[in-house]
C-alpha cells in the first residue's frame, strides 16, 4: 500500500539507497513492518559504511582462517575461495516464514508421493496428469528403484527449494533440489559469524535459531534406517577432499557426530554394508550420501567410478541399508516435471499449492506453445530434456534473428521447452563498493524429512553481487547473506 516511511534516523546508511522498481526485503515493503524489522532498519541506519566494511573484512579473514571455503582446483594446486558474505542480513517476518514453511512441507510431501507412485503403480501417469514420457523417458528415472519400498516412503530426506520473490513480494518456486542440495552448512556458519561480528544488530531480537539442523538431520536419518536396528550407525558418504563441497560434508558430519566416509571406507558383504575401522568391519545402516547416483555403485551405474561402493545398490535393494536421498529422485526436480508440480500437488494432496511456481507455459501443450510463440520477446524459454544443448532464450535481450531461430526450434520440438515470464527479483540492501545498494536475492530453505518434515528456519539467501545481475550462483560471483526469521 504505502512505502515504509523513513524515520529521520533511518536515513543514515540508507540515505542514498534507491531501488525504484523492485520489492526490497527491508525498506519498501508494503505491509506495516513488525517491530523487529523496524529495529533492524533503525540499527543498520546508524552504521557508517566504513564500520560495516571493517566488520566485513573481519568476517572474511575469519572464514579464511577457518577454511570455510569451496575449493577450485586448477592443475595440482587447490585454491580455496571464501564464499563472499554480506554483513547485512535478510530478515523474514514470522508470517512470511509460516507461509514458506507450510509451502515447502507441502511440496516435499507431494514430491515423495510422486516418487513412490512413479516407481510403483504409476497412477499419475495412467490418469494422464503427467505425460508418461517425461517420467519414464527421463534420464534420471532409475530402473533399480522400480517396485522397491523405501523406509517410511521417504525418497527425499533433504530437500532444497529455490524461491524468489516478485515485484509484489510474492514467493515463487524457481526450482526443486531433490538430489543432493548444498548450502545448509553456510546457513549455520553464517549465523555463527553474524552473531559474533554484528552482535549489536541482533541483540534483543527474537531470531529463530538454526543450530538444530545437525541433530534434526541425524534423527531423521536414524528414523529411516532399516527396521529392527536398535542403534543405527549413520554415516555421511562424500566423494572426498577434492570435492568442491567437501567443507559442507565435514561440517554436516561434525554437526551430526557421525563418521565422514568415502567409498573406499565402505564394503559390502552378503548384502550388508560395513565400514573399515581399526577394529575391523563395523555395520552401517543409514547413509547420507553426497554422491550422485551415477557414482554410487560401479556394479550398477558407472563401472569406471572409484568413488562408490561395489554392491551398495544390492544391499539397498535388500533393505539392509538406507540411502538418503534415495536413488532416482532426480526425476522429481527436473525442469519438465517442475512445470507439472502444481498439478502433482493437487493430484496427491487435493490441495492448492501454497507456494506457486513461476508462471510456466508447457510448450508440449497446444495453449502453452501458442502463448509462447505469441509472446516470445517477453519470455525466458528453457529446454527441459537432458538432450538440451540449445541453451536459454531470454526474450527481452534477444535479437530478432534469435527470436526467429527459437520460434523454429519451438515448432520443431515443442515438448522440449517451457517458457516463463522474466521475474523482477526482490532486492536486499547489500554492502557494495559504492555504499549500500540493492542487490537481487533468492532463498533456499532446507527441509529434512524422517517421520515428518522439518524446515530449517531461514535457509540460504544468495545475493547477486554485480549490479543488476540476476545470477546469484556462487560460481558466478554470487555471495550469501544470513537469513533471520523473526519468531514474533
Amino acid at each position: 500500500m504505502n512505502d515504509m516511511k523513513m524515520t529521520a534516523q533511518a536515513a543514515g546508511l540508507f540515505a542514498t539507497y534507491d531501488v525504484p522498481d523492485f520489492f526490497c526485503e527491508l525498506l519498501n515493503r508494503r505491509d506495516i513492518p513488525p517491530s523487529g524489522l523496524q529495529l533492524v532498519r533503525d540499527r543498520l541506519a546508524c552504521f557508517d559504511p566504513g564500520e560495516l566494511r571493517r566488520r566485513a573484512a573481519a568476517v572474511e579473514a575469519q572464514f579464511y582462517r577457518l577454511g570455510i571455503t569451496f575449493t577450485v582446483y586448477s592443475d595440482s594446486e587447490a585454491i580455496d575461495r571464501v564464499l563472499p558474505f554480506d554483513v547485512i542480513p535478510r530478515v523474514l517476518t514470522a508470517a512470511e516464514w509460516d507461509h514458506v514453511e507450510r509451502g515447502v512441507q507441502q511440496r516435499v510431501q507431494a514430491i515423495n508421493l510422486f516418487l513412490h507412485d512413479i516407481y510403483h503403480d504409476r497412477h499419475i501417469l495412467r490418469d494422464g496428469v503427467v505425460p508418461e514420457h517425461l517420467v519414464l523417458g527421463n534420464a534420471n528415472y532409475c530402473q533399480a528403484m522400480v517396485g522397491l519400498d523405501v523406509p517410511g516412503g521417504v525418497y527425499v530426506h533433504v530437500n532444497g527449494t529455490d524461491l524468489v520473490r516478485d515485484r509484489d513480494g510474492r514467493f515463487l518456486v524457481l526450482e526443486d533440489n531433490a538430489r543432493t542440495p548444498s548450502g545448509a552448512s553456510y546457513v549455520l556458519e553464517n549465523r555463527q559469524m553474524m552473531l559474533r561480528l554484528m552482535p549489536d544488530l541482533a541483540t534483543g531480537l527474537d531470531i529463530r535459531p538454526v543450530d538444530e539442523y545437525g541433530p534434526r538431520l541425524h534423527r531423521a536419518l536414524a528414523e529411516v534406517a532399516p527396521a529392527g536396528v536398535a542403534n543405527p550407525q549413520v554415516v555421511l558418504l562424500s566423494p572426498g577432499i577434492y570435492n568442491a563441497a567437501y567443507f559442507e560434508h565435514v561440517f554436516l558430519a561434525r554437526e551430526m557426530g557421525i563418521p565422514l566416509v568415502e567409498g573406499r571406507d565402505l564394503m559390502v558383504e552378503d548384502g550388508r554394508v560395513y565400514m573399515r575401522t581399526v577394529g575391523g568391519p563395523r555395520p552401517v545402516h543409514s547413509i547420507y550420501r553426497r554422491l550422485n547416483d551415477d557414482f554410487l555403485d560401479p556394479l550398477v551405474f558407472n563401472p569406471d567410478s572409484l568413488l562408490g561402493v561395489p554392491g551398495l545398490v544390492d544391499a539397498y535393494r535388500r533393505g539392509n541399508v538406507t540411502l538418503a536421498n534415495a536413488i532416482g529422485t532426480g526425476v522429481a526436480d527436473d525442469k519438465a516435471v517442475y512445470a507439472y508440480m502444481p498439478r502433482i500437488i493437487r493430484y496427491y494432496l487435493d490441495q492448492d499449492p501454497i507456494l506457486t511456481n513461476v508462471e510456466t507455459h508447457i510448450c508440449g501443450e497446444p495453449e502453452g506453445l501458442a502463448y509462447t510463440l505469441a509472446n516470445l520477446e517477453h519470455l525466458v524459454v528453457k529446454p527441459v530434456g537432458e538432450s538440451g544443448g540449445y541453451g536459454l532464450l531470454i526474450g527481452p535481450h534477444a535479437t530478432q534473428a534469435q527470436l526467429d531461430e527459437f520460434r523454429a526450434l519451438l515448432r520443431a520440438d515443442p515438448a522440449n521447452y517451457i517458457s516463463q515470464p522474466v521475474i523482477s527479483l526482490s532486492v536486499s540492501p547489500t554492502l557494495c563498493p559504492g555504499g549500500v545498494e540493492g542487490r537481487h536475492v533468492d532463498l533456499r530453505p532446507f527441509a529434512v524429512t524422517g517421520r515428518n518434515t522439518w524446515v530449517l528456519p531461514g535457509g540460504l539467501s544468495r545475493v547477486a553481487l554485480r549490479k543488476g545481475s540476476l545470477v546469484v550462483n556462487s560460481s558466478q560471483g554470487g555471495g550469501a547473506k544470513d537469513t533471520w526469521v523473526l519468531a514474533s
Binding site: 577454511g67 550407525q233 577432499i241 557421525i258 559390502v268 581399526v278 561395489p310
Partner: protein, 340 residues
Amino acid sequence: MGSGIMTQVSAFPPPVLPGLRNLLSRYAESTMWLARYMERIENMARLIEVTGSSVQASNMDAGWDSVIRINADDALFFQHHEAATERSVVSFYITDRDNPDSIVSMARCARENARVLRPLISTEMWMHLNVFTRWVMELGPDDVGAGDLSPLCTRLKQDCQTHFGITEGTLYRDQAWLFYILGKNLERADQITRLIDIKYHTLLPSGADVGSDIDLSQWTSVLRSAAAYHAFRRVLPEGMTPANIVGFMLKNDGFPRSLSASLRSVDGALSSLAGEYRLRHCSPILERLEELRVTLVEQTVEDIIMRGLHEYMDWIQRQLRQIQNDIAHAFWPPVVSVQA
C-alpha cells in the same frame, strides 16, 4: 572417607564412549601421518637453523652436506645441484616443491591429511594448521635468504610446537589420539637415530680418538639440533663427550626426544590400543618394540659405540620402519575389492 573416594574412582571406569570405538582406518592413517609430518617439519627447521648458525663463523658452505646425508637425499639432491652450499641446501629443504622432503612439500602433505581429519580434529587444531600450512606453502626463494633464515626457522619451530600444544590441549582422547602419539614418536625416534648416526661420524676425527679433544661447539650444535642442549647441561654439566651425548640422546628417559622416551610413548599408545580398545594384531608389534627397547636398556653406550654405532642405528631404523609397516598392515590393510 577413604573408601568413599575409592567408590568415586570406581564409578568412572576407563571410558568406553559411544561412537568412539569405530575409528575409520583411513582416519587412523591420516592422524599418524599428520603427526609425523609436523614432527618432521619441526626437526628439519631445527636442523637447518643449527647448521646455519654453526657454520657461519668459518666457511659459509661447510657442513651443509650433512643435512643431505641425515635425510639420505644424496641422489635426489645431486641430480639438481652441483654442490651442497647454504643456498642450494636451504632452498632444497625449504621451498623446493619437487623435493618430497622439503618443508613446503611436507606442509602440503600435512594439510591434505588435516583435511581428511577435519571431521575429527578440533576447530582450534584445524584453524592453526590451516593458517600455518598456507603460510608455508606460499614461502618463496625470497623468504629464505641468509639473513631471514634464523627467524624463519624459529617461526617454523614455534608453529609446530603450537600445533603440538593445541593438539595436546584439544584433541579428544580416543583411538585417534593414540595413533597421533604413535606417529609423532615413531618420527622422533627415527629422526634422533639419523642425527646421531651422521653427526657422530662427521664429528669424530677417527675411531681411535673417541673421547679425545673435539670441537665443543660442534657437539653443542648436535645437542641443539635435538633441542637437548640445556637438558644435557643440567644433567651432565661436565661431561661433554661423544659417548655422554650419544648416551643422553639414546637412553635418557627424562629427555622427551630421546630414543628411549620416544619408544616408551610408542609402547604406551600401542598397549592402550590393545588393552582399552581391544584391538587385535597389536601383540607382534609390541613384541618387536620390546626387543628394540631391551637392546637399548641392556647395552651401555660404550658397548654400542664399540660394536658399531652406525650398524646399531641402522638396525633401529629398519625396526622402526617395520613397526610402521606392521601398524599399517594391522589397522589399514590394503583394500581387497569386493565383487558381488
